[in-house]
Amino acid sequence: MSVAIELAYLIASILFVLGMKMMNKTKSARKGNRLSALGMFIAIVATLLQIDAISMVEILACIVVGSAIGLYYANKVEMTKMPEMVAIFNGFGGLASFSVALSDYFLRTEVNMESIELVTVISIIVSVFIGGLTFTGSLVAYLKLNGNISGSPITFKGQHPINLILFLGFLTAAFFTVLDQTDPMLIIILIVIALVLGILTVIPIGGADMPVVISLLNSYSGMAACATGFILNNNVLIVAGSLVGASGIILTQIMCKAMNRSLVNVLLGGFGQTVNEAQADGPSITVKEIGVEETAMLFDGVSSVIVVPGYGMAVAQAQHVIRELMEQCEKRKIDFKFAIHPVAGRMPGHMNVLLAEANISYDKLIEMESINDEFPNTDLVLIVGANDVVNPAARNNPQSPIYGMPILNADKARTVIVCKRSMGKGYAGVENELFGYPNCLMLFGDAKQTITKVVSEMKEM
């Protein structure tokens, strides 16, 4: 290997590090990604320079095919399908490492008939294990997210013991492989166990936890690349692989924290209990949830916002953080108003008292009659702990006990986000069909806590 190529690898490694560093900040993330792509390009070109002319045709053909597929899907996929895409790409990465490891194994044992060094054998086994597991795991994650198989956790008795037995089986087979490197049977056992374990560890996990799983599998695929680096004695593989492996673990941890799950839980593969069953009785409404980050992004993209405060704002004492939200919006030149329903809260003027306390100037507070016509032209309505006062049943359903009460036409806005703790009912004790409307998204959680998070997300943008 010439010095020039080694230097190229060094530069590629440096670019990966820099790129990853820049991906940390919204502002520089795109540039960071491009830097790391540049590093990859350099590494590939440097490698190609070592290639014999004979293999060149097939190699280029493979590259063209791979690039075409990659480009096609990457550009075609909808934004909402990003996680699936990442999952499947990641699976391919794992499978590639797996294949390279096997390729090297067969090259040494079958073609060259040489005996392999201990380190290399171990590296091959590791690469096969992690790569294979990553592949099938990612595939399952992809299918789950894509809806091809049920997103809900698929569990069965004895899951954990079976996984453990398989893993021990793998270790045993690995041990014998080290002793007798040439037995293809052993290798096949290793391969099968790795692939099966990938399926078994991901299948019991629910759809909501998938992002965490994908992040973890991503880390694994880095480790697989790293192991491959040890097989081939190649620095850039080791550097890039271990960068991804380590950062993936950290990222997984961060994501777990954001979802309030423990990493141990995830690492054991034992997670998957479903998240927030809406505890509504009666005709249950199917709602769409939204997270804090997406809420922040939504706010970042609109030009007019109306906040509808209700009794929940008072209970949560969220008025102060709503003022901060207002400040963030006004910084972005977003038109920001409050729609005050005359009976919001539990006493006349309840909202007025609290919003005055938060120093929100009177001219931001608009009465129901004046603001009701504005909703259809509003990009985003945030309902904070209000329920009855925005319940369309008051207009539509003569059976409802609140029928005839004038309400805020929040449902008429382009998008409605409802911030409340659960599917709990309001004072009048009636179901609110608004929550199931197609333009309505539920942001579950205590109003103060969630909006605080939204605001700090916005500050970072």
């Binding site: 539990r346 309840h350 306390e357």
Partner: protein
């Protein structure tokens, strides 16, 4: 349809049934309105204001010649006497307390509607004058108390020493009580609240007040938003809790009502004796007997160094706002019951059923009958 607005006759009453703004809206809906001369003076609405709004300002006779008469307080015997046979009238009646007036009305076959009987359902909130007036009363009780208190409300750390915040103790977290909490809190006081309904805890806390939890509070029954009578055991426990709290209080505001009953005694003479010199009690339940044993209706009593304010008509002290809100309430109810061509009653409808007291010479109101026939 002609609407007549009489001047209030009760002493100290400064409110009026309709405001010029509301009259404008009625006129738009093709009602005609007659207002007695000087009816709005107490609420700072001049006769000119009414004329501008489109009302006819005239003598009392002109007003009596209306299809429906509006007032804040119940009509007196004399007023009923001057009404046309078969005409209608609306006001806060508390009908079950005044069977003799109902008799007079029935004699003349007058249709009467009581504002205090509006059912507390969601769609009737705009007609609910008990809420609107209680809300103002809650605010006023604090202002009045603050004005009589020889201390300030907020904590103040100054070069000349630190003034500790006033302690305000409020009984009853209904509409008035909650507004009192909010107002006292705004002014910087430390506010504590006692109520029998456990769900008020969260409401009080949402306004920054502290709730005094009495054990056994879950036994209290609540009917249609009103507290029904509570167990003796509860009252005893509540009393003990209060006894320990009231000693340190600077201002005590009592709002505890039980509908159709005498209000419970929450502050005994004994307790008043234990209070700090200079403390103030505002008894908002004084009209129905008072929550304080020694409060006197429409009197300011000074006893044991404590000032006990028994103002029974707090909303009237905020006459301008009180009249505005009352006018909205009464006109909304009127529009619910009538068009420009006259009344149009659906006697099965919940609100109509709730407010109609006398009809074609009969007392037709269930609750009133229940009380009267007891």
């Amino acid at each position: 349809m002609k609407i007549g607005v009489l001047k209030e006759t009760k002493t100290g009453e400064k409110r009026v049934a309709l405001s010029p703004d509301v009259i404008k809206q009625l006129i738009k809906k093709e009602f005609s309105v007659a207002v007695e001369q000087g009816a709005g003076t107490g609420s700072n609405f001049s006769d000119e204001d009414y004329k501008e709004a489109g009302a006819v300002v005239g003598s009392i006779q002109d007003v009596f010649a209306s299809d429906v008469l509006l007032k804040v307080n119940l009509f007196s015997k004399e007023e009923v006497a001057q009404m046309q046979n078969g005409s209608a009238c609306m006001s806060i009646m508390y009908a079950y307390n005044y069977p003799e007036i109902l008799d007079e009305m029935n004699k003349k076959s007058i249709m009467s509607f009581s504002m205090d009987a509006v059912p507390r359902i969601s769609r009737a909130q705009k007609m609910d004058c008990l809420s609107s007036q209680a809300n103002l009363a809650g605010y006023k009780s604090v202002i009045l108390g603050a004005n009589y208190l020889e201390k300030i409300f907020p904590l103040m750390m100054t070069a000349s020493g630190t003034i500790t915040p006033a302690k305000v103790l409020i009984f009853g977290a209904g509409v008035a009580g909650l507004q009192a909490v909010a107002t006292a809190k705004r002014l910087g006081a430390v506010v504590e609240v006692s109520d029998v309904r456990p769900e008020t805890k969260e409401q009080v806390e949402s306004l920054g007040g502290r709730f005094l939890t009495v054990e056994g509070a879950d036994e209290v029954k609540v009917e249609g938003g009103y507290a029904s009578e509570v167990s003796a055991e509860f009252l005893q426990k509540q009393k003990e809790l209060i006894q320990s709290k009231i000693k340190d209080s600077d201002l005590v505001i009592t709002t505890a009502l039980v509908m159709g009953k005498k209000s419970p005694i929450l502050v005994t003479e004994e307790m008043v004796k234990s209070m700090k010199k200079g403390a103030v009690i505002v008894d908002m339940a004084v009209e129905s007997g008072g929550n304080c044993e020694i409060s006197e209706k429409d009197q300011i009593v000074q006893k044991y160094g404590v000032t006990i304010i028994g103002e029974s008509n707090l909303p009237s002290l905020l006459s301008t706002n009180a009249s505005q809100l009352y006018a909205t309430n009464i006109s909304t109810l009127l529009l619910h019951l009538a068009t420009k061509d006259g009344f149009n009653l659906d006697r099965e409808e919940e609100i109509t059923k709730g407010v109609l007291i006398t009809y074609e010479g009969q007392v037709v109101h269930e609750f009133t009958n229940k009380i009267l026939n007891k």
